[in-house]
Symmetry: C2
Subunit: 224 residues, 2 copies
Amino acid sequence: MEARAQLFQDAMGFSGISGLEIKKLAAMATMQRFSKGQMVFEQDQPCDYFHLVASGLVKVYICSASGYRMTYLLARRGEPLNLVGPFTGDPRFLCAEAMQATEVAHIPRHDFVRFVAANPILFSNIMAILSKAVDSANSRLIDMVEKRVEERLLRVLLTLLDKFGSEIRLTSAELAELAGTTVETTLRTMARLRSLGIIESERGQIKIIRPASLKNPERLPLWV
Amino acid sequence: MEARAQLFQDAMGFSGISGLEIKKLAAMATMQRFSKGQMVFEQDQPCDYFHLVASGLVKVYICSASGYRMTYLLARRGEPLNLVGPFTGDPRFLCAEAMQATEVAHIPRHDFVRFVAANPILFSNIMAILSKAVDSANSRLIDMVEKRVEERLLRVLLTLLDKFGSEIRLTSAELAELAGTTVETTLRTMARLRSLGIIESERGQIKIIRPASLKNPERLPLWV
DNA sequence: TAGCCTCTATGACCACGGTCATACAAAAGT
DNA sequence: ACTTTTGTATGACCGTGGTCATAGAGGCTA
């Protein structure tokens, strides 16, 4: 219970809430463990809970009819999986899958919405996060049209560098889903980056050797 | 003043607000006229106002460094141009441009945010709209990866058909910015659709002859 | 130790669509 | 009535990157 309160205290978007209110929030939450590969929620399901990652790593992705996936968010401790969903309750086409052993806090959506209404500062916090999410989606949309795969991958790597540091524990398939390309093209491009001395890689792990070469001033990190 | 109140009464996202509150909102608004091609707001400007279209048509688009444009929203009477911006005030990279003679209502952002806080139902309304916007952006992202230009254009045409009817007064350049492709490819694709008897077109105008052929069950309209 | 699955790696192929070029008709401006 | 601009139309070219195929190495389970 104390740990749960600490989780919400640290959580993205919950700053500015009093300790008392945080305790109320913690009291509404239930915790659940997921092992690698397990789904936290699936697409086309109604949204009944607000989800917040307590530990581990969860990827949120959209899944097309033909099975194509596009990763949209990599959430770790303190990051919410679905900020919009609880307000409408409607099914969306997002899925969330644990990438490691993970613990997630669930809050029934009506409790969450009532809590937000009672703490209007959350409105602005949520809006600030959403504005980043919308901008990021639009920015990726532009990238898909005018940037080649290498540039998109570099942007993904820069983003991951900022978020996780220079040791990135993702496979090429996972990178491909972030950059919007195929595994083969990702592998080819990574080979080129390796030959340029920008990265080193081994099975399931990428190490960024020259972070400076990613930090092109006109290349902004995504919001992932 | 009466007309302004009527505008907010009809506006998307403002349902469920009492007549008295609507009048307050109308009192905060100022109206401004724009002629074709004029900018309502530009990218990288701080957001000081909430904007609502009163008449005419405004396109909201993102503009990349290399000048590439991607149209994101076609807003007509009753549709807001920037739901997120007023909450943060931060500059984004969206631009809004009048496509015809247009009238837009402006509300100072702080007034708007206070009004929303005082009428919490607006928050759910806004969230419902934002969820569509985010979903639409993500859905277009997937389309960019896995759908060819013709399919993307058909989806754009279906969307426009639903929103504006079978007579669409847009140029090929404007369609290209909606579908995420070039003018040339749009023209070539339109030629093919014309030869299939799906559309007719003349300068600045497209007429959908066989709406049924667009309504593929697995092709959903975008949110534009 | 064998068997299986995942991840990495790379070659061959080729089509979609972007780029550049030219041409012409219709508006719009002077 | 003239020029300029905007929108439509099409041809030619070719590069990026998707698809399919094969192969091997690392890791997990029995």
